[in-house]
């Protein structure tokens, strides 16, 4: 059996490891755009903030490819997939496959502003981006962050920790509007503002000016903002430009079934590029997060190696620690005004404790926690298992929540 895996992010390498576990002899070719050893992408922001050194990033040893007998083809992007001939084209060569995994991840959403190619304007998606930013930091004082999503937010936090004056431009009223609800978002905003962040709402950068290196940003309200480093965090898009869309079904991402197989038999997809059902929303969704990339990589690997295993669906979730706040959120955090949904809220402003639970009938479908997040996994597991609650809903909101309280014991109930 010849396996080809496109992408050496965590979905790709987890798939490779899983295949090797169940098929010791099959030939595995792993094609990767980034030539560095497999590393932990979510941790690059920790390098920016100075919490860790880049040496901490690799998640597998330097002999990873050799140890698993994997042929690594690094440094180039795949340009084409021939579905008929079952080949993949990369860097002028062609590789035949029996089973193919597409795990190309996602690329930053580009911006349209004029002058965006100036020096010290960068995305924050991979190791190289962060190295570039660190090099540009040395004589930088004023940073501008475009976007208040996870990347923009992490960039802003990192730059604040580096002692820069940071301005963040966002469309919604608070950062992380895709991850948390308004209440938690405002708590995050206030915490960042308390530490010096300047947040501007409903405004965009339309052009940049500078002599080789960015010096000024022109904003959509006609004002100008001096800045010497700019980070673009306007979200990511699945990296599927090379995928023949007439053959392999795509939507926002590559559409897969519960076995991570695409519309073409023998071709699989996993990670940030794959689109499958979101458990909480019960609709097709791309959940571009690390733990889902790992899960999907395992499921894809098992199925590619001939084990039939299905995946129940993905769940959006995130956990973030900043200054004095710990935030965890997952599933539907902002339900539509709809009789289907019921929301329970616990808020203690003095203790900076906030909890919100979203129910659909007897099922938990969403949660937001600010501080006291240790039991958050119980709630996320309850969402993922689609379990019908047997205890009163309010039980899940109590600060004293623990596993024992979720157990229904007929002998004593």
């Amino acid at each position: 059996m010849r396996y080809v895996i496109i992408g050496n992010g965590v979905a790709g390498i987890t798939t490779a490891e899983t295949i090797r576990q169940y098929d010791p002899k099959g030939g595995i070719t792993l094609i990767g755009d980034e030539s560095a050893a497999p590393y932990c992408r979510p941790m690059i922001s920790l390098v920016l903030e100075g919490a860790i050194t880049p040496e901490k990033l690799p998640i597998r040893g330097s002999r990873f490819y050799d140890d698993l007998n994997i042929q690594a083809v690094l440094g180039n992007r795949v340009t084409d997939i021939d579905v008929e001939k079952r080949t993949v084209a990369v860097g002028g060569s062609s590789y035949g496959f029996d089973r193919l995994l597409i795990a190309t991840g996602a690329d930053p959403r580009p911006i349209k502003a004029e002058g965006a190619a100036l020096g010290n304007i960068s995305y924050m998606r991979n190791q190289d981006h962060v190295q570039t930013m660190l090099a540009g930091l040395r004589d930088a004082r004023r940073a501008l962050v475009l976007g208040g999503g996870l990347v923009g937010f992490k960039a802003a936090y990192g730059l604040l920790r580096r002692g820069l004056a940071v301005t963040m431009l966002i469309r919604s009223g608070y950062p992380l509007s895709m991850q948390v609800d308004e209440e938690a978002g405002m708590m995050i905003r206030d915490e960042l503002v308390r530490h010096g962040l300047d947040v501007r709402v409903d405004i965009e950068a339309i052009a940049f000016e500078g002599n080789g290196r960015v010096r000024t940003a022109h904003l959509s309200d006609g004002s100008r903002l001096p800045c010497d480093i700019v980070v673009i965090g306007k979200g990511v898009l699945p990296a599927l430009a090379f995928v023949p869309r007439d053959r392999i079904r795509t939507d926002l991402g590559i559409v897969v079934d519960g076995r991570m197989e695409t519309s073409v038999a023998g071709i699989f997809a996993a990670g940030d590029v794959a689109e499958y059902v979101d458990i909480a929303r019960n609709t097709p969704w791309v959940n571009a997060i690390w733990p889902e990339a790992v899960n999907q990589g395992r499921i894809a690997g098992l199925n590619m190696a001939g084990r039939r295993v299905t995946y129940p669906g993905s769940l959006s979730r995130n956990v973030i620690r900043i200054f004095d706040l710990d935030i965890m959120a997952g599933g539907v955090v902002d339900p539509p005004q709809d009789a289907l949904y019921r929301t329970l809220v616990f808020n203690n402003a003095n203790k900076k404790l906030y909890r919100k639970l979203v129910f659909q009938g007897d099922h938990l479908v969403g949660m937001v926690m600010v501080n006291g997040i240790e039991q958050g996994g119980l709630l996320l597991a309850a969402i993922q298992s689609r379990a019908q609650l047997k205890v009163p809903r309010e039980t899940l909101l109590e600060p004293g929540l623990n596993y024992g309280r979720l157990l229904w014991r007929p002998a004593i109930a």
Partner: protein, 206 residues
Amino acid sequence: MKQVVIHPERCVGCMQCMPACATAHSRTGQLFTAIMETPRPHSRVHVGAGLIGEGFPNRCRHCDPAPCQLACLPGAIFRDSQFDTVLIDPDKCINCASCAMACPFGVIRYHADTFAPPGKTVAVKCDNCIVRQEQGQIPACVEVCKSGALTFEEPAAALKRKTDAVARSISVGATIEPLPPGFGLLNAIKKVQVELRQARPPAAGF
């Protein structure tokens, strides 16, 4: 390989396992000196109160595959094959709480620890008392448990005992092996306490 098996129906909520665990994971190994240590040793087994206040000794199940291990960003969580135990390397841990999102039992805590670099907050959980086991001892929580809620045995043997009990219960003329009467009495009292409290709720909410 023997493992700790939990029998929640036998837990009386006395919490003796907690100081025993904290002491076993202290520098000095003695209760009276352990409480003076900095950082203060914490228990890795957590007795939580259930719906009627009944005890539940919650500890790491050492799942295989372990969701926390799969979710760990820096690769700090690994499996020790000799003791079939999931461990956290405090040097590698970055305190990102990804494991808090992954653990469906809520058994991971975040604090400074005797075995972590000084001053560093790390993820901490049950390690099956590997150090004690290497010295021929059983895990501290089991050693101190008086009610039989925690036992240290071969999982296969424990499973067979439970299976046999189910088989006996559906046999002709079967009788269900009752718990000692004290457990029933204790839970009946706890249940009444909850009902009384609900009938006359305290002035302030939680």
